[in-house]
Symmetry: C2
Subunit: 159 residues, 2 copies
Amino acid sequence: MNDDAGDKLRLDNFLPYRLSVLSNAVSRKIADMYEREFDISIWQWRILAVLGESDGITSTEVAARTLMDKPAVSRATASLIDRGLVTRTSDVADRRKSALGLSTAGREVYNAVIPRALAYEQELLAALSPEDAEALHGLLTRLAQIASPERDLWDMREG
Amino acid sequence: MNDDAGDKLRLDNFLPYRLSVLSNAVSRKIADMYEREFDISIWQWRILAVLGESDGITSTEVAARTLMDKPAVSRATASLIDRGLVTRTSDVADRRKSALGLSTAGREVYNAVIPRALAYEQELLAALSPEDAEALHGLLTRLAQIASPERDLWDMREG
DNA sequence: CGATAATAGTTTCATTTGCAACTAAATCAA
DNA sequence: TTGATTTAGTTGCAAATGAAACTATTATCG
C-alpha cells in the first residue's frame, strides 16, 4: 500500500539530511568553543592545524589540505597574519608564492587548541566503543570517496 | 616522542572535520540535483518532504521537524507558495497560525523528487553493505544525541 | 625574444545565512 | 476588562559564502 511517491522518504532516515544536521550541530558547538576560548574561527583553526604539521607550505597547499577554497584561505590567513599568529615569507624563486608558517604566538595557540579539540572529539566518541569509532571512520571514508567532487574545490578553472 | 601539543591532531582523522567535509560534499551534490531537475533548494525540499507526510501542519511544526529556524522556514515557504507548490490556510480559531499543505502541483513535485532523492541516497549507500548501512545509522543517531543542542534552534527566546 | 597561456593569490560582488527586532494575535493575571 | 506576557510568523540587517574578475608573476611556445 504505497503512496503515489512509490517509495517513502522519511526525512529523519534520509542520510543527506542526517549528515547535514549532525555536521551542523557539531560545527556549531566546536566553533563556539574555538571562538570563546581562542577567538578563532573554524577556518582559521584549519589553517593553524595544517601549518602546525607542515610549516612553510603555500596558500594553495593549505587550500588543498583543508579543502577550503582559495578566497577562504586568503581571508582567514590574512586575519591570522594580522593577529600575528601566522607568518608569510615570499618565495624568492617564484614571487607569486609565499611560504606560510606559525609564529611563536601561533604555535602557542596551536598547542593550546589541540587538546581542546581532541577533548571535544572524545566527548563525541564517548558514545561509541573503540570498535564502533573505528567502524565509523571506515564508513565515513567510503562515503567520502563516493560523495567527493571530482574536480578541485579550490580552483574552478577547469570547470 | 610527542611534540609540544601533547597529542597530535591530523585534520584528516579529526571527526568534526571529516563530518563537515562529507556533509558539504553530499549537500552540494544533492542541491545541484534538486536545482537542476526541480528548481528547488534543499530547504524548500525539506519543507515539501514534511508536508508530503503531514499535511496541514503549521510553520512552527515544519521548523521543528526540519530543524530549520523560523526565518528560513518563512522564506522557503513564501517562495513555495509563490510558485504554487504549497498552500497556506489561516487558522480560524487562532489567526496567528496557518496550516500549510501541498498543492496538486506541489504533490507532483514531491512525488517526482522522492525517487531521485532515494536514488542519490542509494548511490551513497552502495559503498556499504546493508549491515554497514544499518550500523551507520545507529552511529549517527548516537553522535547526534551527544552533539544536539539542548535548546530549540527555531526560536531563541529562552537563551 | 615576444606573445600567449597558465598559476598564485586577492578583491569584488551578489547571494545566503543567522540572529534580532518587529507585528499581530492570543493568553494570562490582576 | 485591561495591561503584561507569550506565541506565530515576517522583515531587516550584518556577517559569511562562493564564484568570478582581477593583478602580478612565471612558464610555454612560436
